[in-house]
């Protein structure tokens, strides 16, 4: 039984056209722009071919390097804390019989809220003069602390926002994973007299590994894309203490109007992350087989 080929092409064509037109063509356009110095005179672009000059500038751009460093710290530190907290909360939730649905509903809420609103919420919470955090500290006779205006606390403060925002997502995936584990393995472990920690180490974690890996990859991908919260809370500052790579690209391309140079930076980030993703996928596939 052979399905007709015209239907085969017809059904896949819209996706291919959309990807080609709105993803591949713009990527080619980025590469073209990255090789030229582009000046805007009265709304018209003037291109001057400069070969790889702008890529050399990216390599020597101190702000870009700071952005890459902060992005890695932000994504890795934030995701690690989220994974630990989310897993622990999910494990706790599996031990209760009643109220699970209610907790699940509460924990879905932050996942559905715009990054800009998350930023707005924490702009209020962190405010130096009247933010609730400093009010609470004041009751204890401590502070006030300029959470977002201080180079030593700003990055940690935005990471804390990310932990608050995304721990519920990890929780949700972990809970779904834990709920789908086969129960007979646990009964066997209990008959053998396994302690809670032995059960966790030898039964739960190995069975949960695929879910943990997928969740980790999801979270790192979204963590590396961070922009909205930084835009609203700190604008990369104070100094460059919360500068992240998406913000550097935005700054170079849009704020400073460096079309060609911003394109070169975009190309570097785009291909570096695509490559990192392919390597990570290949590594996890090999471990599984």
């Amino acid at each position: 039984m052979k399905p007709d080929t015209s239907a085969r092409y017809l059904t896949l064509a819209p996706a291919v056209v959309l990807f080609a037109g709105v993803a591949l063509v713009p990527i080619a356009e980025l590469v073209a722009m990255s090789l030229s110095q582009i000046d805007w005179v009265q709304g018209k672009a003037h291109w001057r071919f400069v070969a790889f000059d702008q890529y050399l500038r990216v390599a020597g751009d101190a702000l870009f390097r700071t952005g890459v460093g902060n992005t890695l710290v932000f994504a890795i530190a934030g995701v690690l804390v989220q994974m630990l907290l989310g897993f622990a909360l999910a494990l706790l939730t599996t031990r209760i019989a009643r109220g699970r649905a209610l907790y699940r509903t509460v924990f879905i809420l932050p996942i559905l809220v715009p990054g800009i609103v998350i930023g707005a919420i924490w702009k209020l919470m962190y405010n130096f003069d009247f933010g609730v955090l400093n009010q609470l500290l004041g009751l204890l006779g401590v502070g006030p602390v300029d959470w977002l205006g201080n180079t030593t606390t700003a990055l940690a403060a935005v990471i804390a926002v990310d932990v608050w925002h995304w721990t519920p997502f990890v929780f949700l995936l972990m809970l779904a994973g834990l709920e789908s584990l086969p129960q007979d393995v646990y009964e066997a472990a209990r008959v053998d007299g396994a302690t809670f920690l032995q059960e966790l180490r030898h039964v739960t974690l190995p069975l949960m590994l695929p879910t943990i890996v997928v969740t980790l990859v999801f979270r790192v991908i979204v963590g590396v894309k961070v922009f909205d919260e930084i835009y609203l809370l700190t604008g990369g500052g104070p100094g460059t203490s919360t500068e992240v790579v998406s913000y550097t690209i935005f700054r170079r391309f849009f704020t400073e109007g460096q079309t060609g140079y911003g394109s070169a930076m975009s190309v570097v980030v785009l291909f570096a992350l695509a490559l990192a993703f392919i390597v990570a996928t290949a590594a996890t596939q090999r471990r599984r087989t």
Partner: protein, 275 residues
Amino acid sequence: MSRRSLRVPATHGALLVAAIIVLFPFVWIALAAFKTQISLMIGEVLFTPTLAHFDEVLFSGASDYLANYRNSLVIATASTLLVLVVATLAAYSIERLGWPRWLVHGFLLGAAVFNAIPPITLVGAWYVGFRALGLYDTYLAVILAHATLNLPLGIWLMATFVREVPRELEEAARIDGCGTLQMLWRVIVPVVMPGIAATAVLVFIHSWNEFVVALNLTARETATVPVAISKYAQENETKYGAMAAGAVLSVLPSLVLLFFAQRAIVRGLTAGAVK
């Protein structure tokens, strides 16, 4: 009391603390939206509520918030419909129409790689490209960008759901003389309707929430709700009350979906991650 009987209250206690930490900031911004500017600035906990900020955001001449809301609705609805049609067709194609396996894997890997790229890297090219085509500050530009960004997720989810449809259904329909496209419409789509709903809800929320593309591809005519909220926070003097009111109004669609479509949301978020 034995240790075992203490465990359940302790677990509830820990979860309750976590739930309060999650909810408190939402409650706080909702309260802030009803405080006067002075009440906000002196950090009053007990206050006389006012609707002044909602009035300013919704009805003052200087505010475009209602127009922004309409823009967000149009853009999120249109990009969701586009993703649903394109992703369902593509998922059916790669799962059921006998493409070589290497091609299917390559296609899905390509989509996944695209999904790993930060949107800001493409926004510059979209800005220049859409300007050249005369599409800057139009719905179409943002709809196309949002649909493309969400297409990998849409295809991934729909492929997962189509894969679960029993082959027997199709064989029975084929004996009855059902053609390939009829099969999709008459057999597959009705069976995967819960999956389509899950995909729709997630894509809609993503588009509704999206900021960096909307910030750079829209101007006054098509600016979306997140762009409007960011303006309140970015002016020389942050308008905290208006920002809070705008934020509260912006999460209403998500709250409605959380209330009526929670199963679909959970299905969409966990599909693929949990076998």
